[in-house]
Amino acid sequence: MKNLIKISFLFATLAVVAGGVLSSCKPKGPAEVSMGDAASKVYVAPGKYDEFYNIVSGGFNGQIGVYGIPSGRLFRIIPVFSLSPESGYGFSEETKPMLNTSQGFVPWDDLHHIALSTTNGEHDGRWIFANGNNTPRVARVSFKSFRTEEILEIPNSGGNHSSPFITENTEYLVAGTRFSVPMGGKDVPISSYKENFKGSISFVKVDSISGEMNIAFQLRTPGFNYDLSRAGKGPSHGWFFFSCYNTEQAYTLLEVNASQKDKDFIMAVNWKKAEEYIRQGKGRIEKAKYAHNIYSEKTHMATSKIEDEVLVLDVTEFPDIVYFIPCPKSPHGCDVDPSGEYIVGSGKLAAMMPVFSFGKIQTAIANKDYEGDFNGIPVIKYEAALHGEVKKPGLGPLHTEFDEKGNAYTSFFVSSEIVKWNVKTLEILDRVPTYYSIGHLCVPGGPTSKPHGKYVIAYNKITKDRYLPTGPELTQSAQLYDISGDKMQLLLDFPTTGEPHYAEAIPAGLITPNSTKIYKIEENENPYAAKGESKTKVERKGNEVHVYMTAIRSHLTPDNIEGVRVGDDVYFHVTNLEQDWDVPHGFAVKGATNSEILIMPGETQTLKWKPTGTGVVPFYCTDFCSALHQEMSGYVRVSPAGSSTPLKFSTGKTEDQNSGAGK
């Protein structure tokens, strides 16, 4: 026995020694990459706050995730283009209009890109903008309430990918079509692409006070695919840059047919010039149906309006609005550095990356240094616009963000890495692998004039073995790197919801002082609000029954309702009377075919319920609100259709002899 112990001890010692000696010979795996003081750099102690909010698109879940950086903790999921049974968004009568479109109720979208509002090119902490890729839409989310306040449909678009990038002072956000399509729903052969298909770039004006969005004008552009874009800033303010692919104008097997040319285009748009033409009345009005949905914090209700026309400028008729710059092989990212002078084109199939100079582009235009035209639009000579090329940076460059020290960070999907390089010298400074297959990346303030070059976050497309497996469907992974030194250092993996497509990060100090705590009950203008228990009532209007209900710790008023009949449409208008931070109440009724509703303090929300059978049906508060949460419930009696059970409602009223408080 003793021997056995000795032997195993010996083995253990040997193993430790061997481990120490041999570990340096092993290939560097993921476990070895993150090391040193990484843990302390991402540890945010209990009760401490993160330094940055990370506003992360949920991609195909149609939502936005709100995370803390550096901890990677998830704080909130904001439903935008998707239903949320958690809050009742898209299910409650008040929020259903948010998802209205010219096609009717569309309860899902593919939310790709985030743009945070800026003033003078810097984050101002007011709004989050996001695009719906599939049924073209843009959305505005409030940084006070972290709720979706507005959704605007984009007509004449085949898919709103190149969006919602914004100008320096949030004057405009853009919505460029990914797919060119025939305008006005024309029924034409697909093979008539070159003749009939057009691109459409919408400039959406953002009201500087309310944030309300309206389509100011649309540019009608040549038919190819508009991928991504960025506004100019500083010297290039007044311009917008869009990456374009499929200048081959292929309409089938784009995988092959849209990769024929050596170069596609970056499209430079002088939007101030376009504004001028619009002011001069040169835009033409075209009929187009699109929904404009606004949520009011006063009424706690959304309204949806169908608009019916847009103002259009055909760029072929106004030759000084748009210029093409040749860019190698299907450019994807098109990113402008903090100075506004350099525009990085990322040809996703190219082995180098061109960096264009805004100054040179202006000189080339002044000198008409063109190599020709495309459909009458001047094509600037590649060399005339070029600042220089980043040689052999990696495989499959996609997107570039910047720090405040003149460095750029580019994601490479094919070679799965982030490459740091100097914007002026174009010299490659460092590279780190990502696990696995990075798409977008984010430096806090990285697309603005004021980056905070402390971190870069990778949003990866492939997860495989990075976490405990959960069957075939895996979470998608974000990775946090410290970029404060010369070398990038991997600090943390954190899981995300949906597809973390693009994200921005903003200093927490710009957001936290303005965050809404409660809605004031006296300011509630919902027509169905019961602003006090004495205002509660039940009204019948034909087969509609309206219950004006209140919720406060720990009862619902009324909690006994009789006189509802099978086949009625019952509307529970629930007002949360609480005026206390973080005391929402929920409401659910058995058999409802929609969801619960979650009602914030001072707010009114409405759940529609159609009873299908007789009986007594319970309803209750779903949000654990208090020690008597389980008691917060009630009954609604459902009588047969056509019955004469009188309409009755009460709370705390006992009608038998043996019940009630004190009995």
Partner: protein
């Protein structure tokens, strides 16, 4: 001495460079780290503790709640019905009673008395019925009476009723003393 001067200078320099993005708009960097009573919130309606704290009539009660480490519990979601004796009510107790109860060794006795003033649940004025009993947090009962619209609890007069975010406060003119344990 020279060294002493250099060190703080260096520290100052380092701090200047390390200014974090969080400080941009002078935002709070962290939670207060205490219980719910320490949460910074000027927006919400006051809870039962803040109702007492804001009342000049209740300084003794507040001191007792603090002594019994009871303020966080009563700042919680509740809901609570609190019977809040005024300073005068405490003054009616035999001399030295309050001072004695505030001694650390008497914390359990103090808690027992305070818990006899708290019911978990909101009993609004209109729900009070004559002869109604409430089982208090310390597990003893109080009896409410209602005569000609005037409410008493164990004979103590209700001087006023104040709604709070997490319940209701009945201001009373006597301290409620729990029955002796057998």
């Amino acid at each position: 001495m020279k060294r002493l001067i250099y060190v703080p200078l260096l520290l100052l320099l380092a701090c200047g460079q390390q200014q974090s993005a969080n400080q941009e708009a002078g935002a709070t960097l962290e939670s207060t780290g205490g219980g719910q009573s320490t949460v910074q919130d000027e927006t919400s309606e006051p809870d039962v503790v803040r109702v007492a704290v804001n009342s000049p009539l209740h300084t003794t009660l507040v001191a007792a709640l603090k002594g019994a480490e009871y303020v966080d519990a009563l700042s919680n979601a509740g809901p609570f019905t609190v019977f809040a004796p005024t300073n005068e009510a405490f003054d009616k107790l035999p001399a030295g009673t309050v001072e004695n109860l505030l001694k650390p060794e008497n914390k359990d006795a103090l808690r027992n008395i305070l818990e006899y003033h708290v019911y978990v649940g909101v009993i609004k004025e209109e729900y009070v019925q004559d002869g109604m009993t409430l089982n208090q947090v310390n597990l003893d009962n109080v009896t409410l009476n209602k005569k000609d619209g005037k409410i008493t609890v164990n004979g103590a007069k209700v001087l006023g009723v104040v709604k709070a975010s997490n319940g209701v406060v009945y201001v009373i003119d006597a301290v409620l003393l729990p029955p002796d344990k057998k």
